[in-house]
């Protein structure tokens, strides 16, 4: 009984480790292809343009609405709390840390993961089941160059661009709250933010957005690629992919928070 249990644990652990190893090998291959200029053929560039359109431009109306409503309420609460605890002197750095370092990239990553991550996972899984991936392999079309790279690059570009947009909208909403709550004029608010913002904050925003962008596409692609050869396996693949993606997003967020604290 005990031996069976140990065997079961060992078997599961080996399988899990192998799957992690495979995922990192796949990630490494994608990274190598990104650096190779030969990967950027006309077909790949067209897919990249389409992906940027679908991932970034297509989401803008929903994104701005969400940023205005949700972002305004959250930034308003932060300002009210800061004022309540007599932290008016620190309000600039509180807003910058909260908006630029944490909230904007994370919220954008969640939105992109929900919208584009699921779409990419489903698309690759369907292509796999329909044997479209086999067709591409038969014609010696590199799947990484043609299908995966455009999605990964568009993930990085869209997440970075949308995080910056989100941060701008939240900072704008912050001014409205500050104006009504503390009667501060725009010039004073802008000066407050400029004094509080550091290169580190911008660097953190870019690095986090890029990391979120990579995992938001890489994990769904890998999950779609591993789909078993039946239509009933597609929802399971999307479900597994999304769970792994959310774990990865929270992991990156926790790591960045730890770096920030240290």
């Amino acid at each position: 009984m005990l031996i069976r249990f140990i065997e079961y644990i060992g078997d599961k652990s080996i399988k899990r480790l192998l799957s992690v190893y495979e995922f990192f090998s796949f990630s490494y291959l994608c990274f190598v292809h990104i650096l190779n200029p030969a990967s950027y053929n006309p077909a790949m560039r067209m897919v990249l343009v389409k992906q940027i359109y679908f991932t970034t431009i297509g989401i803008i109306p929903l994104f701005i609405t969400m940023a205005l409503f949700f972002g305004s309420i959250v930034i308003g609460l932060v300002i009210i709390l800061a004022a309540h605890y007599s932290l008016q002197g620190e309000i600039g750095s509180i807003i910058v840390t909260f908006v630029i370092d944490e909230f904007a990239p994370f919220f954008t990553a969640l939105l992109i993961a929900l919208r584009s991550g699921t779409a990419v996972n489903t698309e690759i899984a369907v292509m796999n089941v329909n044997r479209e991936l086999n067709t591409l392999r038969e014609y010696k079309i590199d799947l990484i160059d043609y299908l995966f790279l455009p999605r990964i690059i568009s993930g990085v570009i869209s997440l970075t661009a949308l995080s910056i947009l989100f941060a701008f909208i939240m900072l704008g909403s912050g001014y409205i709250f500050i104006f009504f709550y503390m009667s501060m004029d725009f010039y004073a608010y802008a000066t407050l933010l400029i004094k509080a913002i550091e290169v580190y904050d911008l660097l953190l925003l870019f690095v986090k957005a890029a990391a979120f962008g990579v995992v938001s596409m890489l994990i769904p692609i890998y999950s779609g690629l591993k789909t078993e050869n039946s239509y009933s396996a597609i929802p399971i693949s999307v479900l597994n992919g999304m769970v792994k993606l959310f774990v990865a997003l929270f992991f990156i967020e926790v790591v960045s928070l730890l770096i920030h604290l240290l």
Binding site: N41, P42, A43, M44, M46, E123, V126, M127, N130, E132, T135, L136, Y139, K140, I141, D142, D145, Y146
Partner: protein
């Protein structure tokens, strides 16, 4: 075939990837072949909007785009609907003036479908 591409995009893809031909030029080449066999109306259609024969012809034109010396068509009688379509397919292949050898590989059970047509049946 790739389902989220149109027929002309599917055909042009091979030249775009292997010869790094610009998209417009590759699509013009693909369109030229479709025009030769009066099938330009399927150029902007997706796979699910085409008949089985149209899909098979598009697959043959796509195979023409490669640098391989011969085109093998496997179990064609499970792809097309009827014997009449096989005849139409032979006519189209001739009019495409393909510079490669085109061979059909099929099951012995389907031998009767090809009898009477000008083709060699090799067992």
């Amino acid at each position: 075939m790739i389902y989220n591409l149109t027929i002309v995009e599917n055909i042009a893809l091979i030249k775009e990837v292997h010869e790094r031909m610009e998209i417009g030029e590759a699509q013009r080449v693909a369109m030229g072949y479709l025009r030769d066999i009066s099938l330009e109306h399927i150029a902007d259609k997706r796979v699910n909007e085409c008949t089985l024969l149209e899909i098979l012809i598009a697959m043959i034109i796509r195979a023409m785009m490669t640098r391989e010396a011969s085109i093998l068509i496997e179990v064609s009688h499970t792809i097309v609907d009827s014997v009449h379509e096989i005849e139409a397919l032979f006519t189209i292949i001739k009019s495409l003036q393909i510079q490669k050898s085109v061979q059909f590989l099929d099951l012995i059970d389907n031998q009767t479908y090809y009898e009477g047509y000008r083709c060699n049946i090799i067992k």
